[in-house]
Symmetry: C2
Subunit: 311 residues, 2 copies
């Protein structure tokens, strides 16, 4: 690569944007729920090379992802386990191998939102550029064979509209839930290349609740009938909803605001038209949960290989 | 106690109610996020004696609470650690000593709601009666010295109204967030007896977000000024709000629906009128976080001693 190319690349690099004038006046920015901070940690040295961030609800799954990706990228360290970078707290777990960061976010919009605020500030403080972020999760499918992977086209709310309502100082602000369409198509292409499991592109409904909010009949409370449930899920399906989970809307909204290239890749653990309980065996569910990891692992490997060839 | 008394007590005992006719037709009820189920576990044998349930966000804190309560009740087992009853999953952690159950719930309304659906079903399947449930948490205070403990009078939303909006099949249902007032007063009395830290009775604002939702100036995004923030927090304070957290409204609503006697006891980690960042030392914050545990520990001990005297 000659210096001119280098300069061009630099001028096209895309930073991770915060939109908060108050941050400049903070002497120390404490990322409380990560147990990290700008005065206590050298964030550019620790995270400056990050290009791919994968997030998911379960800390165990995010640890298993980093082990998987390390093996895929031949970056295993035979001498050591992968340390939890957020070992000072039990709110989230974070692991890193080369340019890949793996972070857990717990369950639900509020939990992932806290994590994303602090992750976006972390990537900003670390001067990261051209970062791609992918949520790898689990979900309930609608009319799909269990184990099918859904790459989200649009994240919609419980009324099937592509929006996220953020309450700010008691007032509701509506935010866009667009995801990166070219990234979604690239991920679909990766699944074709792998040819290991079914992957579809579709809308994902994001709810604030797992039981009543998703029309389940097996919660502690249920005031509707099986027929009401089927009607609701069929209406969702007619609006293009392929699966239901609990984090994609705020994930899409916050990533868009900060200029992160974002995608949501969730496996369906069951077909909600046929039931509500997760009664498949542990082994089957474990196999399903690995599918988004395998897909995203392939995507990352492909990109790193392409970049290695270019440079 | 003569048989007549026994019968009277039984007739006055209060069960844990589910409101879901579909549950009766389930052959097996899998409490997926606890990794427990009615076919795989003898829930009445495991949990039938539970009288007090304490819940809090952090799994580490809920483990430390069970260790603390075991020592307080002289029920320590010198031979063993307290095993995590939900060891098969990393979604929640659960510990038990005698009649006391300690369960983590993660951060935010959706996360605690999943836990409560499964906890209410668990207590119901175990035939528990007369259960008291207390959330012991952390919060941001308004105009209070950091370390002050707030016992919640009413849980209010971001517009200071005592309601929780539950979306069911795409439609919003408003639920009451009343907590047990006699329990709140008993807890206040316990704090007077202990005389170790300040405790107040006040309203608690429950938000869906930690940063913009609570008017913080240190998130990745902030579109308002310090003056806007102060105005909002002062309005909240005028409406009786003493502290802000992220779970109390759905906790109050679900416990009321299921007939659980419920209270919320949160320590304030900082005064939000003076700042947003949690910059106190680890030791100071740790000390603060123990206060709800000490208060609730005293309450449980007092009740068990009184019951022992009665019987």
């Amino acid at each position: 690569m000659n210096p001119k190319d280098n300069k061009q690349t630099a001028s096209h690099s895309s930073p991770v944007c915060v939109h908060n004038p108050h941050l400049d006046s903070l002497k120390d920015d404490i990322l409380y729920h990560f147990s990290l901070g700008t005065n206590t940690h050298n964030l550019p040295a620790m995270f400056g090379d990050v290009k791919f961030v994968c997030v998911g609800g379960s800390p165990w799954r995010m640890k298993s992802f980093i082990e998987y990706i390390a093996a895929e990228l031949c970056m295993e360290d035979p001498k050591s386990e992968y340390p939890n970078i957020c070992a000072g707290t039990d709110r989230y777990a974070m692991y890193k191998v080369g340019p890949v960061l793996s972070v857990s976010h717990g369950m639900g919009i509020p939990s992932i939102a806290i994590m994303l605020h602090e992750l976006i500030k972390l990537l900003h403080h670390a001067h990261c550029t051209d970062v791609t972020i992918i949520r790898i999760g689990t979900s309930g499918g609608i009319g799909l064979e269990p184990g099918t992977v859904v790459v989200t086209k649009q994240s919609v709310d419980a009324t099937f509209l592509p929006k996220f309502e953020q309450v700010i100082l008691g007032k509701t602000v509506v935010r866009n839930t667009d995801l990166d369409q070219s990234l979604a198509l690239e991920l679909l292409q990766c699944s074709n290349e792998l040819n290991q499991f079914e992957t579809v592109l579709g809308n994902t409904m994001c709810t604030l609740d797992f039981y009543e909010g998703q029309g389940r009949l097996d919660g502690a409370f249920c005031s509707y009938t099986e027929k009401d449930k089927q009607e609701y899920l069929n209406k969702a399906n007619q609006a293009g909803v392929c699966n239901i989970e609990m984090e994609s809307s705020v994930f899409a909204a916050m990533c868009k605001l900060s200029g992160l290239r974002a995608a949501v890749v969730c496996v369906t653990l069951l077909d909600r038209l046929k039931g509500d309980q997760l009664s498949s065996s542990h082994e089957v569910l474990h196999n399903y949960q690995q599918r988004p990891q395998i897909l995203v692992g392939h995507y990352i490997k492909k990109h790193l290989n392409a970049n290695a060839v270019r440079s």
